[in-house]
């Protein structure tokens, strides 16, 4: 059994163990769930250390027959990109548990259900990045919606039911298109000597360009909804506004990455011709997303939807990097996915604490927090700095790589994207000023600073941002082979500098 399967099973076992624990003992349930998630982190770290960065082939592969009639297999395996995303997931989950220790208590259902849902979600999040069978990927891709649906609808705030429904319907719509494209792909593979859902085999198919375009769109729209690209983004702010901080973290930090991951893994891999056809349009959408997300973030009055819009802007950057199809752009985009996970986690978690303490999520209700809660204020500030890609933090490296990578091929898009850094400064500093600076109003004077548990939760996130900002080499080394494989498959090479050295 591959270590990947172990990694997927562990949270599931955790969920089963939690399920048999007594409902009343909330503390035990939380501790068990946290224990299992930490175990998962440990195993995934072990896996990362035994990962060979000099190999381009998939590692830790395992294949078992699942539905043999359609040649569907349970097959898993990872490359550097998947490894980076899985590590991000397994590190974020215990942090989310720890940070939102009490956020499950005001839900529609019990604490127990909350943790079962989260652990199941973790299994799926690992599985979706590990799957090397498109059908398996699709099943997890759709099944992941359910725990999130219940997490938003059952444990959120405000109009949680409506938000959950909007999220579900949007995603299902995308999933449906993807399913259609998937079946089409299967039929084509059947006609070309044996139906298969294996990613490697599917990427070797020869598909005529008209079909490619349709199938590409089917996949792409599903992914563009997931990693919200303008104009398919409106579910995100609604969901972020209603979900708990932990759910939002996993939703934006991990689940949405499946979208950008899918664009690289499927859209580019299966349909190189169509990718070229649609690239100009997608680059345009990406640039619109960057600027549009930033402008809307500036205009938000509610802190969670502000973070959601900053993410739309950041997903624009990621998409820009992916479709620039240069090694800097692509590596930058993949690294961006990891950094955005941590950066958004820091933002949502700190914002979540602020909201919980103040009892309101309106930015106008905050103010002067720096004086009363210095640690919380600093954490939020650093998270904001990461969102505006301050050099020294990891998000800077990825953002710069994306821009420098796209500049060579699409200078106009890169220049427009770069203006996003000014807007980023605005949206971050405005919220920082309104919430942390200024005279502390009477209502905020009693707000408590972070306790030890919360400090332990936020510290690793900030540490990752800082360490990777100074020393991104390990992650970049893991990602680089993936990038090279993709570029070789797509048959493109980096633009050469105009003045030879």
């Amino acid at each position: 059994m591959s270590i990947l399967t172990t990694l997927q099973l562990l949270p599931l076992i955790g969920a089963i163990v939690v399920a048999v624990l007594p409902v009343g003992n909330a503390k035990l349930i939380k501790q068990t769930a946290l224990g299992f998630s930490l175990l998962v982190t440990a195993v995934s770290l072990f896996m990362a250390f035994s990962f060979k960065t000099d190999e381009t082939a998939l590692q830790f592969t395992e294949t078992r027959s699942w539905i043999s009639a359609f040649n569907i297999n349970y097959s898993v395996g990872i490359d550097g990109m998947a490894l980076a995303l899985i590590l991000m997931t397994t590190i974020l989950v215990p942090i989310v548990f720890l940070a939102g220790w009490n956020e499950s208590e005001n839900g529609r259902w019990s604490v127990k259900v909350f943790y079962i849902l989260l652990l199941i979600l973790e299994t799926m999040m690992i599985g979706v990045f590990a799957a090397t069978d498109v059908f398996l990927f699709y099943v997890i891709f759709e099944a992941m919606l359910l725990p999130v649906y219940f997490l938003i609808g059952g444990y959120g705030v405000g109009e949680r039911a409506a938000a959950a429904m909007k999220f579900l319907l949007y995603s299902l719509f995308g999933g449906l298109l993807m399913l259609a494209a998937l079946i089409g792909l299967y039929v084509i593979s059947t006609n070309q000597g044996g139906g298969t859902f294996d990613i490697a085999k599917l990427s070797e198919l020869t598909i005529d360009s008209a079909t490619q375009n349709w199938l590409f769109l089917g996949f792409f729209i599903a992914f563009a909804i997931k990693a919200p690209l303008w104009p398919l983004h409106t579910w995100l702010p609604t969901a972020a506004k209603s979900a708990t901080a932990g759910t939002s973290t996993l939703l934006l930090g991990v689940l949405d990455k499946v979208g950008t991951y899918g664009m690289i893994r499927f859209c580019m891999n299966f349909f190189p011709e169509a990718t070229k056809t649609f690239t100009p349009a997608i680059i345009t959408l990406a640039v619109i997303s960057i600027l549009y997300g930033a402008f809307l973030a500036i205009g938000q009055k509610e802190i969670n939807s502000l973070i959601a819009f900053t993410s739309i802007s950041h997903f624009g950057f990621i998409t820009l990097g992916i479709f620039a199809l240069t090694s800097q752009g692509l590596t930058g985009a993949i690294f961006y996915m990891v950094n955005h996970g941590f950066s958004t986690a820091a933002l949502f978690l700190t914002a979540g604490w602020m909201i919980k303490r103040r009892g309101s999520s309106n930015i106008a209700d905050f103010g002067g927090l720096q004086r009363v809660t210095p640690v919380l204020a600093w954490s939020f500030f650093l998270a904001g700095m990461s969102a505006l890609a301050l050099p020294g933090l990891s998000s800077f490296i990825s953002e710069f790589l994306v821009l420098v990578g796209s500049f060579a091929k699409y200078p106009v898009a890169a220049i427009l994207g770069t203006t996003g850094i000014i807007l980023a400064a605005l949206y971050v500093l405005i919220v920082v000023q309104r919430s942390l600076h200024g005279e502390t109003p009477e209502t905020n004077k009693g707000i408590l600073d972070l306790n030890l548990r919360e400090k332990i939760a936020i510290a690793p996130v900030i540490a990752v941002l800082v360490v990777l900002g100074f020393y991104p080499k390990p992650v970049l080394n893991a990602i680089n082979p993936t990038t090279q494989t993709i570029m070789t498959h797509a048959g493109v090479s980096d633009p050469i500098a105009k003045v030879a050295k």
């Binding site: 020294g392 790589l401 420098v404 060579a408 200024g438 050295k501």
Partner: protein, 629 residues
């Protein structure tokens, strides 16, 4: 090129200290300021040691590098965390750590009553680390990290008292204006990478000779934009005045002596780009000339002593930028003026801080007067700085500023006359507003607030001022004797030793002209400010009104950028809700309406169900019948 192993400590020490003081929190309150000062002092000691080590090496071996670690490596984009200490960066290292340490010492006393003194010192150390990284990085990207790092430190320090909303706003404004400049630097790096395949200074220098004029001009223009943001040059100058919200030592260190001169460093460092692109040079001198007059004009009308000095800083940096645009001859003079300015302007800011300290934080010069008698040391050190900025021989400014005026005239043709004229005019206005500051503050009659009890500042404060004053007196002479600085910088800025373009005017004439206009400026100021009213007169010329409003720079920015931006944002928010999400919601609405319409058929009456069944069967039968026909 020598390999060194010590350079990293220049940055690591203050960075470590900053992190330590911030992480320890209140535990470090008792010793934080002393620790930070010691760290800054030890950085200075390392700097001096490196300087002497450099003196021992000759020619090519003088510059030292250190590769700390491999930073980013993606495809052909290879950037190491490497440091480069050459003749140019050592000037900055000494200035930053030297003036920095003096200001640390000064701040121990100046901030002694502040609850958050430790945090202040942590920020100062953070600034030192970032600024040293800025001048020591061996590639544009390393420089960029320091570039934004100083921006962050500046933001934190301007907003040090951010419980006051206007201070927080000033900090934000500075950061955003700087970000506009950073946009330029980012784009310059991107263009450089696509052109040369590398972003190290050495690599770009090598490639610059083979690049197209358009590319070089584009890089030059973007670098100029970056410099304008950081150095408060036209059109991004508006943040500097507001930045005076920070504690006065910060204004002295960051917003006078070091950070704001980073733009001059950037252009001097990129001399190979600008030397190859006359268009970019023309832009540089234009920006410099506009700013030097712009700043000087604002300086004439400010009643806030710090804002008057800030305007002066802007104007003096305008001189430096102008000098860097004058080609190989100008760089050394720009750096010389930068160094002398570092001494006299920091000294004057500290003097202003000393006055404020004695006058319970009063900044309005109309409330000062006759302070020279109660604060003799402050007045004396300030006075020496004043003589230096005016360019009176043999004070520092005489050597550095006159050289710039001279070089400007020598640029030749109409350009030379225009630039030379601008610098001369600037010198006259400088004399006017600086004399105004002196007259309003130190001489004349007392116009103090009833509660003011001015007193001389403690030793910890006046000692740094005195050292800076000595620098203001001697630095120009020392740097210029035997063209010391020019020769020192020659390997970096490539100044050829053969005699350059013929002189437009002999140096003596230029100096005489400069002194005459300065005398006129002084005379005007003394005459005009024989009597001073406590309340600023309102019946003033439109020029004064404009200068008081910073020549409408803020109004312009608000009208052209801010308000349309706010409208755009508000419009987009509405559009997003009404149009994009509206479309999505209308899909839901259509489904809902349709289904509720269909629901009315389900009325519960068996008879109507039966009727529908009959009709259905009839339709079906008819359909089948028609098809089989």
């Amino acid at each position: 090129m020598t390999t060194s192993t010590n350079l990293v400590y220049l940055i690591a020490l203050p960075l470590f200290s900053a992190a330590l003081l911030l992480l320890l929190g209140r535990i470090a309150d008792k010793w934080g300021h002393i620790f930070a000062t010691l760290i800054s002092g030890s950085v200075f000691v390392i700097g001096v040691a490196e300087f002497f080590a450099m003196q021992d090496r000759d020619g090519e071996a003088r510059a030292a590098t250190q590769k700390v670690f491999e930073w980013i490596s993606v495809g052909t984009f290879q950037v190491d965390a490497s440091l480069l200490l050459d003749q140019l960066s050592i000037c900055f290292v000494l200035l930053i750590s030297g003036v920095g340490t003096l200001i640390h010492i000064y701040s121990i006393a100046y901030m002694s009553h502040d609850h958050d003194r430790r945090r202040f010192f942590a920020y100062l150390n953070l600034f030192i680390a970032a600024m040293l990284l800025l001048v020591l990085g061996d590639s544009y990207l390393n420089l960029y990290v320091g570039w934004e790092g100083v921006g962050l430190a500046s933001y934190l320090l301007i907003g040090f008292w951010n419980q006051k909303p206007e201070y927080a706003t000033a900090a934000k404004k500075a950061f955003v204006a700087n970000r506009v400049g950073d946009l330029g630097l980012s784009l310059a790096i991107m263009i450089a990478f696509t052109q040369f395949g590398t972003v190290t200074f050495a690599g770009v220098k090598e490639g610059a000779s083979g690049a197209s004029a358009g590319a070089l001009t584009a890089i030059g223009a973007m670098l100029l934009l970056a410099a304008a943001g950081k150095s408060a040059q036209f059109p991004l100058q508006s943040w500097l005045g507001d930045a005076m919200a920070g504690p006065t030592p910060v204004s002295a260190l960051i917003h006078a002596a070091t950070m704001v001169t980073a733009g001059v460093y950037l252009i001097t460092r990129s001399n190979f780009i600008f030397d190859a692109s006359p268009t970019a040079q023309l832009m540089v001198v234009t920006v410099g000339a506009i700013t030097l007059l712009f700043g000087a004009l604002i300086g004439t009308a400010k009643d806030d002593i710090k804002k008057a000095l800030a305007a002066s800083t802007m104007s003096q940096i305008g001189y430096m930028i102008l000098a860097t645009g004058l080609g190989p001859v100008g760089y050394a003079f720009a750096i010389m003026h930068l160094l002398t300015h570092g001494f006299f302007k920091a000294g004057m800011f500290l003097g202003a801080g000393s006055v404020m300290h004695g006058m319970s934080d009063e900044v309005n010069m109309r409330r000062y007067g006759a302070i020279g008698k109660v604060m003799p040391i402050t007045a004396a050190t300030f006075g020496l700085g004043y003589l230096a900025i005016l360019g009176v021989p043999p004070f520092a400014g005489f050597y550095s500023k006159d050289k710039i005026i001279e070089t400007a005239f020598n640029a030749g043709g109409i350009e030379g006359i225009l630039l030379g004229g601008a610098t001369l005019l600037g010198a006259a206005i400088t004399a006017f507003y600086m004399t105004r500051v002196i007259v309003l503050t130190f001489t004349g009659t007392k116009r103090w607030d009833e509660n003011a009890h001015p007193h001389e500042s403690p030793l910890l404060m006046w000692a740094p001022m005195a050292i800076l004053a000595i620098g203001s007196v001697t630095s120009g002479f020392l740097l210029n004797s035997g063209s010391a600085l020019v020769n020192w910088l020659q390997p970096v800025v490539n100044e050829r030793h053969e005699h350059h373009a013929e002189e437009f005017l002999p140096p003596l004439v230029v100096s005489t002209m400069a002194l005459v206009v300065v005398a006129i400026g002084i005379a005007f100021a003394i005459l005009k400010y024989r009597t001073v009213s406590v309340i600023a007169p309102t019946d003033v010329s439109i020029f004064t009104k404009a200068a008081r409003k910073d020549l409408y720079q803020d109004s312009f920015n608000e009208a052209v950028l801010m308000r349309p931006g706010q409208k755009l944002t508000a419009g987009l928010v509405t559009t997003d809700y009404k149009v994009i999400d509206g479309l999505v919601r209308s899909v839901g609405w259509i489904i809902q309406t349709t289904s509720s319409a269909l629901r009315s058929i389900q009325n519960g009456y068996v008879r109507s169900y039966a009727l529908i069944m009959v009709l259905g069967v009839l339709t079906l039968v008819t359909a089948i019948w028609m098809v089989t026909l």
